[in-house]
């Protein structure tokens, strides 16, 4: 009897311990710069040039130009602009597992935008995720990152936003289902997962590293897509930058792991990718990252790009199974590729080979290279299929261009083409189905 009771006690203690550890691990996540060690200090106590604000190149610019630069660095336009809509007028849908959420109008229109907001209300929204009427905002708005922005920088953004033309466009209602439509629940989310403090530089690191940290963590909010999320939808900083999702696209591992992440990229490649959206042999920034480059990182000064690169390269390596070692060169002979996918081959030879070439090295320009490209070596082929559906750029515009094949091919054909591409050029063949493509079309 006594032995049995002791066993129950041990089991109970083990269960309690497990729950406690699980809760602790879910609820208490390392801060964004915890990996760096050293002493994090308040900005006012930091010895060295401030990592916040605009870079030295813009030191003498007028306040509106500074605000515009910071607005671009925080990439407000990407989410607050609907496809084909007026900049900053909102209305862009984000389809999440809980329903659809639409970004609000942040033009200075007094009734439908933020023209009537006070500076304090704007600061509270950006730092704490609390709307004008005290309602809680969802962390689809990356306030868990923006909370690190200094008051001065948030208000500089506000000043710039007040100079753009007001657009009268009412916000769309939230499309979340119960219980996710209960905004007050975000009070708890924020209490645990919004760091809720301004950027704290690391005293032992260089000024350039701290500037890069400020840009990557606070303004550019890279981790919002590139860090996996916990079941509580918080950025899992224990797997910092190990890869996540964004609107049907995979946001790849950008930790310094050589196989899974960007550890094998040179600083020059990273800088070129952020500035131009392409680095030789690494593919083209497309989907949400294409937008981030076009609207944000391409607008940064060379010194800020260099700072971001310095910081990114310091993030510890996290190996992820989804991002294996990439395949080597592909065969030049058409017949040497996969033979079990005749539909995929037919599409590739008619629509793809003239630009990408049978060996995948690109037939016309370097942007067209498929080999060594993370998306092509991703066995989910999500980004390959999304790229076939959506294309990139426009033929009149310089830079990378690929037409959208959304209207040209059926779901089954696009799935076959994506599977052919990963089988011929990637580490592992994908198994995309017509049903997967149907869902991707709706993204």
């Amino acid at each position: 009897m006594i032995a049995r009771r002791r066993n129950w006690l041990i089991l109970g203690a083990a269960v309690l311990l497990f729950v406690a550890v699980a809760t602790w691990r879910l609820a208490l996540l390392p801060g964004p710069l915890a990996f760096a060690g050293g002493t994090q200090v308040d900005l006012t106590d930091y010895r060295g040039p401030s990592p916040a604000g605009v870079p030295a190149e813009l030191a003498n610019a007028d306040p509106i130009a500074k605000g515009q630069y910071l607005t671009q660095a925080a990439d407000c336009a990407a989410c607050h602009t609907a496809k084909g809509g007026k900049p900053f007028a909102g209305g862009r849908p984000f389809k999440l597992p809980f329903g659809t959420i639409y970004t609000p109008n942040i033009t200075p229109d007094r009734e439908t935008g933020i023209g009537a907001w006070t500076d304090a209300e704007f600061l509270r929204a950006v730092h704490k995720g609390i709307g004008r009427g005290g309602e809680r905002l969802y962390p689809a708005f990356p306030y868990a990152s923006y909370t690190l922005l200094t008051d001065d920088d948030v208000l500089a953004i506000r000043r710039y936003l007040s100079t753009i033309s007001p657009v009268r466009q009412a916000n769309k209602p939230l499309g979340f289902s119960f219980p996710f439509n209960q905004r007050w629940l975000m009070t708890f989310w924020s209490a645990f997962f919004n760091p809720g403090h301004r950027f704290r530089p690391v005293q032992e690191r260089s000024a350039q590293w701290n500037r890069g940290a400020y840009l990557v963590e606070a303004a550019e909010h890279c981790g919002e897509c590139h860090t996996p999320r916990t079941i509580m939808q918080a950025m899992n900083t224990r797997q910092k930058f190990a890869g996540g999702q964004a609107e049907g696209w995979n946001a790849y591992n950008i930790s310094s792991d050589r196989l899974s992440g960007i550890g094998a990229w040179s600083a020059q490649d990273l800088a070129q990718y952020l500035a131009k959206g392409h680095a030789p042999g690494h593919g083209v920034a497309s989907g949400p990252m294409g937008e981030a480059v076009e609207l944000s990182t391409s607008k940064l000064t060379p010194s800020d790009i260099a700072a971001m690169v310095t910081y990114l390269q310091s993030v510890p390596a996290v190996h992820t199974k989804a991002s294996p070692r990439m395949a080597g060169p592909a065969p030049t002979l058409a017949s040497a590729g996969p033979t079990n996918n005749p539909v995929g081959k037919r599409i590739f030879e008619g629509a793809c080979a003239s630009c990408h070439a049978w060996n995948g090295r690109g037939a016309i320009t370097a942007e067209q290279q498929l080999t060594g490209n993370r998306a092509v070596n991703d066995a989910t082929a999500a980004n390959v299929a999304m790229m076939i559906l959506n294309g990139i750029g426009s033929p009149e515009h310089q830079g990378a261009f690929m037409p959208s094949f959304r209207a040209s091919y059926s779901d089954a054909e696009i799935a076959a083409a994506a599977n052919y591409v990963t089988a011929r050029f990637g580490a592992k063949p994908s198994r995309v189905t017509a049903e997967d493509v149907r869902k991707m079309r709706a993204q």
């Binding site: 030879e349 003239s354 016309i364 320009t365 033929p395 261009f401």
Partner: protein
């Protein structure tokens, strides 16, 4: 100033480096044998050879040609494969309206130069990106095979 080698001749052009090679050929060098079709590398009408490789000139910025040799429909007859393809095209009257045929001949002669006796699958793999709205595909395939026989 950008210098490119076209059909064995060095040509200097005063033009923005982002201009596609096709525009330079047609509008600056007045070599209008190469045609504009879709402008997005999907039809093949603008095909030229860059160092012997069939390439869509509508998407190739002229600054990226470098010192590689450009061969166009005006110059391809000087090569063995090009000469045989052009003869087969005339013998079999491959051409109907002709708009795509500069590109077809360029793609076919590049194929023949690298593969002296292509089978149907080789021809499909090399020629599928060249679209012909008159549907001359059957004669194109026959033309390539005849040119191969006379190699």
């Amino acid at each position: 100033m950008i210098s490119i080698q076209v059909n064995g001749e060095q040509r200097d052009v005063e033009i923005d480096g982002d201009t596609p090679l096709l525009w330079v050929l047609r509008d600056v060098l007045a070599m209008t044998g190469t045609k504009f079709g879709c402008g997005i590398a999907q039809c093949g009408a603008c095909t030229v050879h860059i160092d012997g490789v069939p390439t869509r000139s509508c998407r190739l910025p002229v600054s990226q040609v470098g010192d590689r040799a450009v061969t166009t429909i005006e110059g391809v007859g000087a090569t063995s494969a090009g000469r045989r393809i052009q003869k087969a095209w005339l013998d079999l009257e491959v051409i109907q309206c002709g708009y795509c045929q500069s590109g077809q001949i360029m793609a076919a002669s590049a194929l023949l130069a690298t593969n002296p006796s292509p089978d149907d699958a080789d021809i499909d793999a090399a020629m599928s990106g060249n679209i012909c709205r008159c549907g001359t595909y059957v004669r194109i395939r026959e033309g390539i095979k005849q040119a191969a026989r006379h190699g």
